[in-house]
């Protein structure tokens, strides 16, 4: 039985633990497990998310002695890593995760992939079976390094206790430098329990040979870019999450205001330009705004900064910004030409590049007023305002109410994946970078709620709201336990549409309305009541009339998580929409358009 086996292992672990208060000789040696905790403390880690298990017990035993590190036990490892991911995005410091070997580690993998796709610095420490047992299909053994190879910036299997301190220093450096990304550190149980002397820990300066963190910006490249930008008649700036990562929003705004440039944003870039700022012309891509997609299609110069230009942004690549010269600024050289061959590739930190760009364009005039005239005409033509005031609850209206009732300069918004995610992106007024914490690259249903937990722990004094769907919420609903236990006053707004709505939308539009396996209402319980059963606050609303009071009540509730289950119009779909494979400019505005 697994239980007994785990238990036995733990007894050995306890027996072998060195008694720290004994002889001075002993003080000079420490265990790998102790070194993990010391290393985390040294790096300033304050919170660890995780779940204990046999192969990581020595580390937890040492964690128990630390008063500097807070541990949050989640209900599922996926919850832990999404929380750590959001924690990292809110604090700008790496999120840290502990999980046991085998299933604990494999449960993390979705979250590791999620962090990889969104360049989030998450460091996972996984217990592993003892080194002599590796490779023997031992109890709870999986090849963590092999599994995580394709989804990590880097990973380690630590084979000696004395390697632990170095590995932790390296992991923290790698996770947050250059283009951030997740690191996995696999720690066999005997490495955790084995001892080494502090002298054996060596700095290894050679370690990062060939790893270039912050490449110097090539001044000539920026000059060329600036010349073309100044010569353009219909320029557009396209920003991505890299602006937030680099903290380059004010450098961006300087250039934008200097030249009066229109700015379109990817999902990950939302908030880098305040939604109320007139330069922002909306989100680009599959569910982007009419003006943003039109402007890029008609532009003669596209300045893309801190974006991967992935397929959700470009639509049909051949027809993406077909008339434009493209400048691509990114810290990752491999993004240059990966999808689009830029006319002006500039590798570098967005902050640095934009500030030198600003020096070059300062006082050089503003762009053609005619171009703005055209963009404004698209705003009139493709308005996304809906009427509201209907008896049925429109999902868009729910998001708008949320945006009105929350303090947009303070609130953190996390989302699941699906229609609700797009409505949140389209209708919430974001005002600062990283305000929207969403699964952009991997599109991980179930991300939103645990991300809300991580965000709330990172920012206890700020309001945190999760906008999620009935499908997405139920994918990590078990984290209600965590939120109740930690008394986290997150407000979860569920857009309950009885379906896996985004997929249903595709079926309606592209599969002749054959709804196969997308209606999920049968069997879905009252999510408000479920929340109550967990010990949180649950409220249901089905009409617009009751919406705002219910939402306000939930937002006011501060003794734990609250859920507002909004029964929204089930047939509502997300528009505008660019059908897969189409040019962005050929977006459709409704079902009749398809």
């Amino acid at each position: 039985m697994a239980q007994t086996k785990d238990g036995n292992e733990s007894r050995t672990a306890t027996k072998k633990r060195p008694n720290e208060e004994s002889s001075p000789d002993k003080e000079r040696t420490i265990t790998g497990a102790r070194a993990v905790i010391n290393g985390l403390e040294e790096q300033g880690a304050e919170v660890v998310f995780g779940i204990i298990g046999g192969a990581i017990m020595p580390i937890y035993d040492e964690l128990g002695k630390s008063d500097k590190i807070r541990h949050v036990t989640t209900t599922h490892e996926q919850g832990a890593i999404h929380a750590a991911d959001a924690y990292a995005r809110v604090t700008g410091k790496p999120g840290v995760v502990f999980a046991t070997s085998g299933p604990g580690a494999s449960n993390l993998m979705t979250g590791v992939a999620n962090a990889y796709m969104d360049s989030s610095p998450v460091i996972s420490f996984t217990g592993q079976v003892a080194t002599p047992l590796i490779g023997q299909d031992s109890f709870q053994e999986v090849d963590v390094r092999g599994m995580s190879d394709p989804i990590t910036k880097h990973n380690y299997l630590v084979m000696e206790p004395k390697e632990v301190p170095k590995t932790i220093r390296k992991s923290f450096h790698l996770a947050q430098s250059g283009r951030p990304g997740p690191i996995v550190v696999d720690l066999p149980k005997d490495v955790q329990m084995g001892e080494f002397t502090r002298e054996e820990d060596s700095q290894d300066e050679k370690e990062f040979k060939g790893y270039e963190v912050n490449p110097d910006v090539n001044g000539q490249e920026v000059e060329d870019l600036a010349d073309s930008l100044l010569a353009a008649e219909r320029p557009v700036v396209l920003i991505g999450g890299g602006i937030a990562q680099a903290g380059a929003e004010s450098e961006l705004m300087k250039v934008v205001e200097e030249l009066e440039l229109p700015v379109a944003s990817s999902l990950m870039g939302l908030g880098c330009v305040n939604s109320r700022d007139p330069h922002l012309i909306g989100m680009v891509g599959m569910h982007g705004s009419g003006p943003a997609n039109k402007a890029i299609a008609k532009s003669d110069f596209l300045l893309a900064v801190g974006t991967r230009l992935d397929d959700r942004i470009t639509g049909n690549v051949e027809e993406f910004a077909p008339r434009a010269e493209i400048a691509h600024v990114d810290i990752d050289p491999a993004e240059m030409g990966k999808i689009i061959q830029p006319d002006f590739p500039v590798v570098g930190d967005a902050k640095k590049v934009l500030s030198s760009l600003n020096d070059l364009v300062e006082g050089k005039g503003q762009i053609d007023k005619e171009w703005w005239g055209q963009i404004r005409s698209w705003f009139d033509k493709y308005s996304m305002d809906s009427k509201g005031g209907e008896s049925v609850l429109k999902p868009q209206e729910v998001v708008r109410a949320l945006s009105e009732l929350t303090d947009n300069d303070e609130t953190i918004v996390t989302t699941g994946v699906g229609q609700h995610q797009m409505w949140a992106a389209q209708h919430y007024e974001f005002t600062y970078p990283n305000q929207l914490i969403t699964s952009g690259g991997l599109g991980t249903m179930g991300f939103g709620f645990p991300a809300g937990i991580g965000a709330q722990i990172a920012a206890p004094d700020r309001p945190v709201v999760t906008v999620t769907g009935d499908g997405s919420f139920q994918m990590n609903i078990q984290e209600l336990t965590t939120a109740v236990r930690e008394r986290l006053p997150i407000t979860v707004v569920i857009l309950r549409n009885g379906s896996l709505g985004m997929v249903r939308q595709w079926q309606q539009l592209f599969f002749d309305n054959r709804l196969v396996e997308t209606l999920i209402d049968e069997g879905t319980p009252s999510l408000a009541k479920v929340t109550e059963a967990y010990g949180g606050k649950g409220i249901s609303v089905a009409e617009e009339e009751g919406l705002r009071p219910a939402m306000q009540e939930a937002l006011n509730y501060d003794r734990g998580p609250s859920v507002v289950e909004c029964f929204v119009a089930e047939e509502e779909n997300v528009f505008p929409m660019v059908p897969a494979g189409a040019a962005n400019e050929n977006f459709i505005l409704g079902e009749g358009d398809a």
């Binding site: 190879d149 394709p150 910036k153 880097h154 050679k206 060939g210 990752d332 491999a334 030409g337």
Partner: protein, 173 residues
């Protein structure tokens, strides 16, 4: 049947950490990103902390550019160099086990001689020919030996090194 696209081979040389897991991570990267790799060979350098990888990429310039950049991004990769336009030495070693009885053994040995290949082993039914050289030469010999019947073959894959003395990346270790 569409004509198979002509191969565009590009030799790359990479200096990487000599640690367990590195080869698997890097070859996994190449496979997962759909790069077409014609040959991949690895061996330790004079400094045991590093290995040199020789990678022959089949693809256009754009693909090659991505291979170099994606490899460079890996923490365990110290440096990558595209040798397509640099003068370089390229070698492959092939062990070819050929059917050989008393009647044709000397003929095979003669053939090996012409190609400056060695006979590495002689048995009652087979000889093993050890051929070294550029890929073309080794291939030509293999084609000729095919007439006698090749039982088995083992190749090292192609190893490449830039010519001249400016192997800076190695010296500075």
């Amino acid at each position: 049947m569409p004509k198979p696209k002509e191969k565009q081979l590009h030799p790359l040389t990479a200096l990487v950490k000599n640690k367990s897991g590195v080869l698997s991570r890097l070859s996994g990267l190449l496979a997962r990103r759909g790069f077409n790799i014609d040959s991949l060979a690895v061996g330790e350098t004079t400094d045991s902390r590093y290995s040199r990888m020789s990678i022959i990429v089949n693809g256009d310039r754009k693909t090659l550019d991505q291979v170099v950049k994606q490899l460079n991004k890996q923490v365990d990769v110290i440096s990558v160099k595209d040798l397509s336009d640099r003068s370089h030495v390229e070698r492959e070693l092939s062990l070819i086990k050929v059917h050989a009885g008393t009647e044709n053994r000397s003929e095979i040995i003669e053939l090996a001689d012409i190609f400056r290949a060695k006979v590495a082993d002689v048995g009652k039914k087979f000889v093993i020919v050890e051929a070294t050289g550029g890929a073309d030469k080794v291939k030509a010999l293999e084609d000729l030996l095919e007439e006698f019947g090749i039982e088995e073959i083992a190749r090292t894959g192609r190893v490449v090194l830039e010519r001249a003395e400016k192997r800076k990346d190695e010296k500075s270790e």
